[in-house]
């Protein structure tokens, strides 16, 4: 997939002042988490931040499997959902029986739920890797999701299990009723779990996981059993996914079978992959991007899932290293002060590429409104210009934008490739690229 190793922080630390920069990044992240809701204090902003926080933990847990150990799972939501259900049940038990367990501890219960299932099925699942593991994860995911509708007492059938997060013993006088308090709880746990998952990558197990990802055969000949390595990775991934699920249960005060389903598994795969699986911060980026996309697009269009699919396909085909991969590729250029060689070609390409994108959006929206029949407006508002989907003009404009945009854009992309070639040569000469 991508060409560089996940040792960016390692290398960062070894440069002069590198340790400062490394801890500095974590410090800034922590400060940002604290300060963010003070700057953007609207209700919807708080909700978004809470959702993003949970998504970050979920996506990071997924990358323990995919980016770290090379295991592609289509059923990761199972641990997330089971963690959520266990957390909600325990919350209800705490409230009913007056147990002295405060709310901040509940996500750990979620983690245990995810971990328990991972321990149960993980040994058999990790016997095979690669494509077979992916298929098995799909099957197990469907198994659990379908079972959840049968075991109504545990999973509450279609309506799920509800809870009340304010009914638990209060801590520091916080009831966790207001969203801002829930946000800070999530932010705290995001920081803790991100640090924990990062630390995992720096342990002997973490290093061997990378080795198993790169060359499982060779790993046997340095004394390690790849099966055991995968099983342990699976356990950790399950724990942190369950953790995220527990936080979701707290956030929405409900757990239902949708948490376990294929859609949720697809979501975390999208987030991790679009963000970039080769870097630790990739899934963090991906979680932010995908959550915002989802929140933003649902209001604007009925077919937001189609856009997701298209973006995902585009990333797989043209940038399999994800957004993080794209960003990190520029690092050698920045160090070699050669970034200026590619920027002009980007600017030139931006216009036709934008035309192409707008054309695609117009086409999709036009088809969507056209086939939707009654109840949907016939006007597509693109950049403030209303397009009437019933007139031929709209279809013509869309076609022109797509075809014309593509033909022109293709030429500009070639210029980008040429500019990169020159910039990479300069970077190589200056010793910043191997």
């Amino acid at each position: 997939m991508s060409d560089t190793a996940t040792t960016a922080p390692d290398m960062l630390k070894q440069q002069p002042g590198g340790a400062m920069r490394f801890y500095g990044i974590w410090l800034i992240a922590g400060i940002a988490l604290i300060v963010l809701p003070l700057i953007f204090s609207s209700g919807s902003a708080l909700t978004s931040f809470s959702l993003i926080g949970i998504a970050i933990i979920f996506a990071l847990s997924y990358n323990i499997l995919l980016g770290q150990t090379g295991l592609l799972s289509f059923g990761h939501a199972v641990h997330y959902g089971l963690g959520g259900f266990l957390a909600v049940h325990v919350m209800n038990a705490v409230a009913n029986d007056n147990l002295p367990i405060p709310l901040p501890v509940i996500p750990l219960v979620g983690g245990i739920g995810g971990l328990a299932f991972a321990i149960l099925v993980g040994w058999v699942m990790t016997k095979r890797a690669g494509t077979v593991f992916a298929m098995i994860s799909l099957g197990i995911g469907e198994l659990v999701a379908s079972s959840s509708l049968i075991l109504r007492s545990v999973f509450g059938g279609e309506s799920g299990i509800t809870t009340d997060r304010t009914a638990l013993p209060h801590m520091f006088g916080w009831t966790f009723g207001p969203q801002i308090q829930v946000y800070y709880l999530i932010a705290f746990w995001v920081m803790v779990s991100a640090i924990a998952m990062y630390a995992l990558t720096r342990t002997p197990l973490g290093r061997i996981c990378n080795a198993v990802r790169d060359n499982p055969e060779r790993v046997e000949f340095i004394g390690y059993d790849p099966h055991v390595v995968r099983y342990l990775a699976y356990g950790f991934a399950g724990f942190f996914a369950g953790f995220a699920g527990g936080l979701t249960g707290i956030n929405f005060e409900i757990a239902n079978s949708a948490y376990l389903g294929a859609t949720q598994s697809g979501f975390v795969l999208f987030a991790a992959f679009i963000g970039g699986t080769a870097y630790f911060f990739g899934p963090i980026l991906g979680a932010i991007i995908v959550t915002y996309l989802q929140l933003g697009l649902t209001n604007v269009t009925t077919v937001w899932q189609l856009y997701f699919g298209i973006i995902f396909i585009a990333i797989v085909m043209f940038a399999p290293g994800g957004v993080a991969g794209i960003l990190m590729r520029h690092r050698p250029l920045i160090r070699a002060k050669a970034l200026g060689m590619v920027i002009p070609s980007y600017l030139v390409a931006a216009i036709p590429t934008l035309a192409l994108v707008l054309g695609v959006i117009l086409s999709i929206e036009t088809v969507a409104r056209y086939t939707a029949g009654e109840g949907e407006s016939n006007i597509v508002n693109l950049l403030g210009i209303p397009f009437d989907t019933t007139t031929a003009a709209t279809w013509v404009v869309a076609a022109v934008l797509v075809v014309g945009g593509f033909l022109v854009a293709r030429m500009t992309w070639r210029r980008i490739a040429e500019a990169w070639d020159r910039a990479a040569t300069v970077a190589r000469d200056r010793g910043h690229l191997a």
């Binding site: 997939m1 090379g70 592609l72 289509f74 099925v121 058999v124 699942m125 016997k127 095979r128 890797a129 690669g130 494509t131 077979v132 992916a134 298929m135 098995i136 799909l138 099957g139 197990i140 469907e142 198994l143 379908s146 079972s147 049968i150 075991l151 109504r152 007492s153 545990v154 294929a262 697809g266 795969l269 992959f273 009925t302 077919v303 899932q305 189609l306 997701f308 699919g309 298209i310 995902f312 396909i313 797989v316 085909m317 399999p320 999709i364 088809v367 969507a368 086939t371 939707a372």
Partner: protein, 315 residues
């Protein structure tokens, strides 16, 4: 009871043949190209929807011929412009591409045709009872479906065993690298194989559409079962896929027909147990757990024989 057994066996074999129609294409594509086409069930769905739409415009019989060809063309385009470019990034990337494709196709189908079931009717020429089993009429259309499946199966067998193309495909089933070295235009062969595999899936969709429900969630319902069939039979094994398809087809059909539960056999549980896992399991009917049965089989085969029934190839 005997009636139930006969009807269920017929339906089970029918469903199994349908599964095999799909899983054979999937197996050949996987064996030749090393890519597991996550979107295979989506091409099946495209076949059903194209079949429905074309039937509305020109009648069932032209649609029967045209729809699979259209689906095959889409498949070839996907291979030429999608898979071929992703091949250099490895198998995971290819699998993810087909995953994204499945996602996108489902959304496009929902967008164009909506999320409700389509009124895809059995053609009038076949809308009569073929024969009567005990007291039930068995529809002629289902016999037609069975006949088409068997015909395709036989045609596949002939092509594989008797023609040059078939020889190449057979060789590729066990030695894909060698096929490339033999100097064939690998790109063209791949495009053809992928196209034919998808066309077969489309054909299955066209004929299954009127009988099963034609709806935009067809692919996501059938897809996972298809992969269970593949893993159960053994990746890369056509005979394994055949056995697994029939087995799972029969098991699911019989389970859906049976309404028994522990409660129906042993009587209701004492009310004092209240709502609990035990009551849920006690009261659930076999028909309700029918959707899970394939996955239970999956777990079993993984524990007992991880490479599948007749598995030959590692990933």
């Amino acid at each position: 009871m005997r009636e139930l057994i006969v009807i269920s066996t017929l339906n089970g074999v029918l469903f199994g043949m349908l599964l095999f129609l799909l899983s054979s294409g999937l197996t050949v594509i996987f064996s030749m190209m090393g890519v597991l086409n996550f979107a295979h069930a989506s091409f099946y769905m495209l076949g059903a929807f194209f079949g429905y739409q074309l039937t509305r415009w020109m009648g069932f019989w032209p649609a029967l011929v045209l729809a699979p060809l259209l689906v095959g063309a889409v498949g070839m385009a996907v291979e030429r412009y999608g898979l071929r470019n992703t091949h250099k990034h490895g198998h995971v990337a290819e699998l993810l591409l087909t995953f994204g494709l499945a996602y996108a196709i489902e959304e496009i189908v929902s967008m164009i045709w909506g999320k409700s079931p389509m009124d895809y009717r059995v053609p009038a020429a076949l809308d009569f009872p073929a024969f009567t089993v005990f007291s039930t009429n068995y529809p002629a259309y289902k016999i037609f479906m069975l006949a088409v499946s068997v015909a395709v199966f036989v045609a596949l067998l002939i092509v594989l065993k008797k023609t040059r193309v078939g020889l190449i495909v057979q060789a590729a089933l066990t030695h894909p690298n060698m096929v490339a070295h033999l100097g064939h235009d690998v790109g063209r062969v791949f495009m053809l194989v992928f196209g034919v595999g998808c066309a077969l899936a489309g054909l299955a969709g066209v004929i299954a559409g009127p009988s099963l429900v034609t709806q935009s969630d067809m692919a996501s319902l059938l897809g996972p079962i298809l992969f269970v069939v593949i893993v159960f039979g053994g990746l890369g094994s056509l005979p394994g896929a055949f056995i697994a398809s029939l087995l799972i087809g029969l098991i699911q059909t019989f389970a859906v027909a049976l309404n028994g539960s522990l409660a129906s056999v042993f009587g209701p549980l004492d009310a004092s147990f209240g709502p609990s896992v035990l009551t849920d399991i006690w009261n659930v009917t076999i028909a309700q757990i029918a959707p899970i049965l394939p996955y239970v089989l999956l777990v079993l085969i993984l524990i007992v024989r991880p490479m599948g029934l007749l598995g030959t190839r590692e990933t």
